[in-house]
């Protein structure tokens, strides 16, 4: 298992390099000019100067390697310096956002908590709702519980989040006035009341996303449970006199969780990707929103960095999913 992990990690390096090249080239070749938004009164020579100062005059391979160096060396060193108060990264050029002229990493670090709180929480809530629903739906297949569960999952899966989001705002924020309609990112939790407010403003976006996540995962859980409930080993467990609780929650569940855990792990990178639409609807300025505004503004370094971070996370969680699979299923041995 260990050598397998190491081998996979090593293999991830060329994969990520290729991905980074593709991301870089795609964005670089895409039409769009960071100076296009500047007023027309600015003379062309000045515009050219601005472009030069952004590093756009260099040939493409020089810019690629510069970006790689900034991303892979300068940025991690800065993070290290910040954490331990060292000075390794002094004088190193960082990846700078064209919009704000401040380092991309700093902006990402500012936005990350919002996304993790709202989107991450919704994922956790979604999983926590989905698992029991999937288990019960499968165990009581075709019961009214299962039918309602199927119906709600279909809704959650097929109704887009911008619709459920706005619907919730209209009902609970506008008509009932229970929750604020806009997420206040500047809110600081420093007292019990502030905490209650934080919870209240999180409820709607979290619920919208949780419904969507739960719909998917509960279906997976149900299908996986059904697969296993019909297996011979279940009959053996019953023939041993095990209680239904043990049969379902130990024998069947343990087997059913194997594919589901993998699906859950593979879904984690999406959290960091942010839920672009939901973040827009509730005005949560998380990573999803950051990406959208960066794309509108032609802020190529920002877009490159964010996309590459997502790529790294996807590769990483694929590996984690594989390793979890090996841990959960004794029949799989990677060595």
């Amino acid at each position: 298992m260990f050598t397998y992990t190491v081998r996979r990690l090593l293999l991830a390096i060329p994969t990520l390099l290729i991905i980074s090249l593709i991301i870089f080239l795609l964005l670089d070749l895409a039409p769009g000019d960071p100076t296009a938004q500047l007023p027309l009164t600015i003379p062309p020579e000045v515009k050219e100067k601005i472009r030069q100062s952004l590093g756009l005059g260099e040939p493409i391979h020089v810019r690629y390697f510069l970006w790689l160096k900034q991303f892979l060396v300068a940025e991690p060193l800065h993070v290290f310096d910040n954490l331990f108060g060292t000075h390794f990264a002094d004088g190193m050029q960082r990846v700078i956002s064209w919009q704000t002229r401040s380092p991309v990493a700093d902006i990402v670090a500012q936005r990350l908590p919002q996304t993790l709180w709202v989107v991450g929480m919704s994922y956790v809530v979604g999983v926590l709702i989905a698992l029991p629903i999937g288990i019960i739906s499968a165990y009581k297949q075709y019961s009214w519980f299962d039918q309602i569960g199927t119906f709600i999952s279909m809704l959650g899966f097929s109704v887009p989040t911008f619709f459920t989001g706005v619907l919730l705002i209209v009902i609970f924020a506008v008509n009932l006035g229970w929750f604020p309609s806009i997420y206040d990112t500047t809110h600081v939790v420093d007292s019990w009341d502030a905490f209650v407010f934080q919870v209240r403003q999180m409820i709607m976006p979290v619920m919208v996303l949780a419904l969507y996540n739960a719909a998917q995962i509960s279906r997976f859980m149900r299908a996986s449970m059904l697969d296993n409930l019909g297996q011979d080993y279940v009959r053996t467990a019953r023939a041993k006199g095990m209680s239904e609780k043990v049969v379902v929650l130990i024998h069947v569940l343990r087997n059913s969780m194997i594919p589901v855990i993998t699906v859950i792990a593979l879904g984690v990178p999406q959290i960091f990707g942010g839920a672009i639409i939901t973040e827009q609807v509730f005005k949560v300025n998380g990573l999803g929103q950051l990406l959208i505004t960066a794309i509108y503004a032609n802020d190529i370094p920002m877009v490159q960095t964010l996309t590459f971070i997502f790529a790294v996370l996807i590769v990483l969680f694929n590996l984690i999913a594989d390793i979890l699979y090996g841990i959960l299923d004794p029949r799989i041995r990677y060595d």
Binding site: Q231, D232, Y233, R235, T236, A237, R238, A239, K240, G241, M242, S243, V246, H251, R254, N255, I258, L328, D329, P330, R331
Partner: protein, 345 residues
């Protein structure tokens, strides 16, 4: 051969029905039989004759729905298993009635160690703690002939071969010293040499531990070698029942006779072709009101089409559900037998 005493298991008029989309399927129709302590009862019959469903009905192992045990009485040690709470059945299953199923490759849970799976019933029924259960589990594995038992407890099922897994299944079934072991085609999925080993093992274990065994199989050869008494099933009914020698020497029911003819002979004249029983076994949408075998029976008469033959006594401890008498070639006229245990109650 031990054949005295009050039966441990006495089944009367057991009826099981499946509710399917296309209507009811009557899988078990008024089945009655008994099992004496220490006895090995062989159950034969072609696929779909209701052997498994009968045995699963006894102890509530059928999923319901679709299955419904519609009537009858299953006396186990004086208790009617069809009338006890689910909780009570669970106390008996795995403790006093053990099961071995057909396919050892899928009957063990792939994600738990073999040790864990043997220890489960020990801890539940015998109240053992982890350490005691582990010691006993190792003993059991050694008992069923798995070398290096202590180490193999922490192996997973996929690390065992098919025959080894069936030994593990037997170890699980025997864990709590059951009075009755129900083995549902325990060797069908195994190759011939392994089959022979498992048979030897079972004979051995029965002599050592003295439990009563119900052995379901398609293989009459196996039955001849291992059973004390045989019960032949067809269409969800018992069509003939006799001590093993009697059944093989003096088969009465046309179905039994046909079954025996299907065994290819190694020593005698070589026949042109293997014998087959022409036709299909019935799927019953209602409880039978006529002989279920008549369509495939060369001796069928008008009476067989309007009356379901009851089990008639045809010899000592021998009964058959047929109007035709092979000795005379004529219909017989006897009273229905008392199909329960001869000395029960």
């Amino acid at each position: 051969m031990p054949n005295k005493g009050v039966p441990v298991l006495d089944v009367k008029d057991l009826k099981t029905v499946f509710h399917t989309r296309s209507g009811e399927v009557h899988a078990v129709n008024s089945v009655s039989f008994y099992l004496r302590p220490g006895e090995l009862l062989g159950v034969v019959g072609e696929s779909g004759s209701g052997k498994s469903v009968t045995m699963m009905s006894l102890i509530g192992l059928l999923p319901s729905p679709p299955a419904e045990v519609r009537g009858g009485r299953v006396l186990f040690d004086g208790e009617d298993l069809l009338n006890v709470r689910e909780e009570r059945l669970r106390e008996l299953r795995g403790a006093r009635i053990g099961f071995v199923f057909q396919d050892p490759m899928t009957s063990l849970n792939p994600v738990f160690t073999v040790g864990y799976q043997i220890m489960e019933p020990l801890r539940k029924h015998m109240g053992m703690d982890k350490r005691q259960a582990r010691v006993r589990a190792a003993e059991l594995l050694a008992l069923v002939g798995i070398p290096d038992a202590d180490k193999r407890l922490s192996d997973y099922p996929h690390q065992f071969s098919g025959g080894m897994r069936q030994r593990v299944m037997i170890a699980i079934a025997l864990a709590c010293d059951p009075e009755v072991l129900i083995a549902d085609e325990p060797t069908t999925a195994l190759d011939v040499t392994i089959q022979a080993q498992i048979l030897e093992l079972m004979k051995d274990l029965r002599d050592k531990l003295g439990m009563a065994v119900i052995w379901i199989t398609h293989d009459l050869g196996v039955i001849a070698g291992i059973a004390d008494r045989v019960m032949v099933m067809y269409g969800g009914q018992v069509v003939e029942q006799a001590p093993v020698k009697e059944l093989f020497g003096n088969p009465q029911h046309p179905y039994t006779r046909a079954l025996l003819e299907t065994i290819p002979s190694v020593t005698g004249e070589r026949t042109e072709r293997l014998h087959v029983i022409e036709g299909q076994p019935p799927i019953l949408a209602a409880a039978p009101s006529a002989c279920t075998f008549r369509a495939r029976c060369v001796y069928a008469s008008d009476r067989c089409a309007c009356e379901n033959p009851p089990r008639l006594t045809v010899g000592p401890a021998h009964d058959a559900a047929c109007f035709w008498d092979p000795a005379t070639g004529q219909p017989r006229n006897t009273e229905p037998t008392h199909t329960g245990a001869p000395n029960a109650g």
